[in-house]
């Protein structure tokens, strides 16, 4: 088949849906036919029995003087009632759902009406059996079954009305057209039943279309569920692989840091000794070279310490040592250390510590480290400007919060740079590393420590307009001391999760 002869996918889906809906409709319709056939089988038996009981109650025997015998009506109820009932009931049980069965049932039901009407002497009340039977036949939702039923009723009234009018009308001399009046009332009911059947059939068709559509949706949904499950499995595998790689990296970093620090300490120590010897010997050139070696070694040691700390934070192995300390002296001590460094570029350092800052219960070393890193950065990226350190205490119902604000009037940070500011080795630009130095680990450690201490750090900045870092830490770190032991380090799954960049 040429590609041009292949119908579009949408058309093929419509054909499949239509075929399935047709199949469902036929199956549902057939089940209704079968179910209704069986109901009529039982109804036939019940009517037969009811006719016999009625005859036995009303006219059990016929008399001739003192002699009697079973009344003809009893035999009629048994024989004619059985004749009318058994054949369609047998068809309904042995051949349910066949068109011939329901047409036979319809005919038999009307013959049963005729028999019952006769046995009751043409009582008008018994005529309701005709109308009830027509309504029952409408259960088939096949209007065609009403045709033989109506024909039987009309023929019965016409023939009996002509030959034995008393048996059907209860009068001897009815109008010869009275059967038309009776038939007209039957047709009157037929009209509504036909409408009901057609409407019911349309509902079946609509249900079939909806069911077919639902099946398609469910099938697609099942496929998507399987695909989603496979995707989740792949993601889980990827996550496990990533976590394993992270663990391996952290272990590698920790091991390597430890292995590197030992020789670096030796290099630093021996270069200091050599420098002292060179100074004593007056070898100025050697002193300068050995100074460079020391500076490089210390820089490398700082880098390795930072890496070690960061890997501990990421691995959740960083310990928190809680102790009570006064904030103001801690800040004063820090400022005395940092002031020379901050003022190197011609900056001025402004310290604003509120009187009510009081004491904190937290890790004083890490708090100092956070502020040290921020002040170091501020001094590094500010020239002839102002670096400000503020400390204040916010009283909260949920627990007091200590806020440290480090701001500067330096070069500032763009929005794009802020997005990766707290990630390891993510200095704003490579050129900055060359110009200002640094490892790119300082802010990552700030973020990690703040997270570890239950706090947060945020930044607001714009290029050329300085930068403000705000650190918020709980005044009382409520993690029990026992949970901060080396055996149970405070876990940090994502040290950057609580960071915000303004």
């Amino acid at each position: 088949m040429s590609p041009s002869a292949t119908p579009p996918l949408a058309d093929r889906k419509k054909v499949v849906l239509s075929t399935r809906a047709e199949s469902l409709f036929r199956a549902h319709q057939q089940s209704i036919y079968v179910q209704t056939d069986r109901m009529f089988a039982y109804l036939m038996a019940a009517q037969w029995l009811a006719g016999i009981v009625f005859a036995l109650v009303v006219a059990p025997r016929t008399w001739a003087g003192s002699s009697s015998q079973v009344h003809v009506h009893v035999w009629a109820a048994v024989i004619i009632g059985g004749l009318v009932s058994v054949f369609p009931a047998a068809l309904a049980l042995w051949q349910p759902g066949a068109p011939a069965t329901r047409y036979t049932v319809a005919t038999a039901q009307m013959l049963m009406s005729a028999l019952l009407i006769h046995l009751t002497g043409g009582r008008i009340e018994t005529h309701f059996h005709v109308f009830g039977s027509l309504a029952f036949l409408a259960f088939y939702r096949d209007w065609r079954v009403l045709v033989p039923a109506t024909v039987v009723v009309a023929a019965d009234h016409a023939l009996r009305g002509y030959f034995w009018p008393e048996s059907v009308y209860g009068v001897v001399l009815p109008s010869q057209w009275r059967w038309i009046e009776h038939s007209a009332w039957v047709i009157f009911e037929d009209v509504f039943l036909v409408i009901s059947c057609v409407s019911g059939t349309r509902e079946l068709e609509a249900i079939a279309v909806q069911t077919a559509s639902l099946e398609t949706v469910n099938r697609d949904q099942a496929h998507r569920t399987i695909e989603l499950g496979e995707l989740v499995a792949r993601l889980r595998l990827t996550q496990e692989q990533a976590e394993a790689a992270t663990r391996a990296k952290n272990e590698f970093v920790a091991n390597m840091s430890h292995e590197l620090r030992t020789p670096l300490n030796a290099i630093t120590l021996y270069s200091e000794l050599l420098q002292e010897d060179a100074a004593d010997a007056g070898r100025a050139s050697d002193v300068q070279d050995l100074g460079r070696i020391q500076m490089a070694s210390k820089h490398l040691l700082g880098l390795i310490n930072g890496l070690l700390d960061l890997s501990k934070v990421e691995a959740g192995k960083m310990e928190v040592h809680v102790e009570a300390f006064d904030v103001a002296p801690m800040v004063a001590d820090l400022v005395s250390t940092m002031a020379p460094l901050v003022k190197t570029n011609g900056n001025s350092l402004v310290v604003d510590v509120k009187d009510d800052v009081g004491t904190m219960e937290g890790d004083v070393t890490k708090t100092r480290q956070v502020l040290f890193n921020l002040l170091s950065n501020a001094g590094k990226f500010t020239t002839n400007g102002t670096v400000t350190l503020q400390a204040k205490r916010h009283v909260r119902d949920t627990g007091d919060v200590m806020e440290f604000i480090v701001s500067d009037t330096g070069i500032g940070i763009s929005d794009g740079q802020k997005a990766k500011l707290f990630k390891p080795f993510a200095q704003a630009e490579t050129s900055i590393s060359r110009k200002y130095g640094g490892t790119g680990l300082g802010l990552a450690l700030v973020a990690g420590f703040c997270q570890l201490m239950g706090g947060s750090v945020s930044v607001t900045s714009a290029p050329g307009q300085g930068t403000t870092f705000t650190v918020r830490l709980p005044a009382v770190l409520e993690v029990p001391q026992t949970q901060r032991s080396p055996d149970q380090p405070t876990p940090v799954e994502d040290p950057l999760a609580v960071l915000t960049a303004g």
């Binding site: 006219a59 003087g65 003192s66 004619i80 011939a100 006769h118 043409g122 009308y169 209860g170 001897v172």
Partner: protein, 217 residues
């Protein structure tokens, strides 16, 4: 098992034909009248029924256990309700000699007793039925003030069927003075006499006082 169309057609037609034939036989039976009476043209002197010369006399002879006669009594009730000048009315319940006492006291007896202005009588051994030449339950006779037979026939249209019919209408017309009564209408009901019952008429026999009931309207 699937029935072949031809088998279904043959079977269906045979079934329908048998059902229709059975219905037709039933109709035919129900419209088969009983044996008509040979009633005397003049009131029989031997009858123990009291004839009032001031009114006409209506007699219905019934079998106490004939279910079809229920329709005859219903038609009698309808008839009496429609006439202006009510006749003296008897409903005579036949009691064959071979049956025990009280045999005739059936629901039909009770129904007849409730009819206004009707005298209910037991007819021992069917003597009155014999005197009036009746054979079939529901046989109705009307004698005028002079004791002349004016109507003899049935007042139902078929066996056990109530409703308008020629016999009842003819009597109503006669009693209301509108037209002559036309007897000879078929009588639908059980036979008053069985093969083992003897038709006995004796001038000495009379209705039992204890078995009569008169209900004045």
């Amino acid at each position: 098992m699937t029935l072949k169309p031809i088998a279904w057609a043959i079977g269906g037609c045979a079934w329908l034909a048998m059902a229709v034939a059975g219905m037709a036989l039933l109709m035919s039976y129900d419209n088969q009248p009983g044996r008509a009476a040979h009633a005397p043209q003049q009131w029989p002197d031997a009858s123990r029924l009291r004839r009032d010369a001031s009114t006409q006399t209506l007699i219905m002879l019934v079998h106490p256990k004939c279910d079809c006669t229920r329709a005859s009594l219903a038609e009698l009730e309808e008839l009496l309700a429609r006439v202006h000048d009510r006749p003296t009315t008897y409903v005579v319940f036949i009691k064959p000699g071979r049956v025990p006492g009280g045999w005739q006291r059936t629901s039909l007896w009770a129904k007849a007793e409730r009819l206004p202005g009707v005298t209910v009588i037991t007819d021992e051994n069917g003597r009155e039925a014999d005197r009036f030449g009746a054979w079939t339950s529901g046989q109705t006779l009307l004698y005028d003030r002079a004791g002349v037979l004016r109507f003899s026939g049935g007042i139902t249209g078929a066996r056990g069927k109530t409703g308008d019919n020629v016999g009842r209408q003819s009597l109503v017309d006669w009693l209301n003075g509108a037209a002559d009564a036309h007897g000879g209408t078929p009588v639908f009901g059980c036979s008053l006499f069985g093969p083992a019952d003897e038709r006995q008429a004796s001038p000495a026999d009379a209705p039992e006082a204890a078995e009569t009931h008169h209900h004045e309207s």
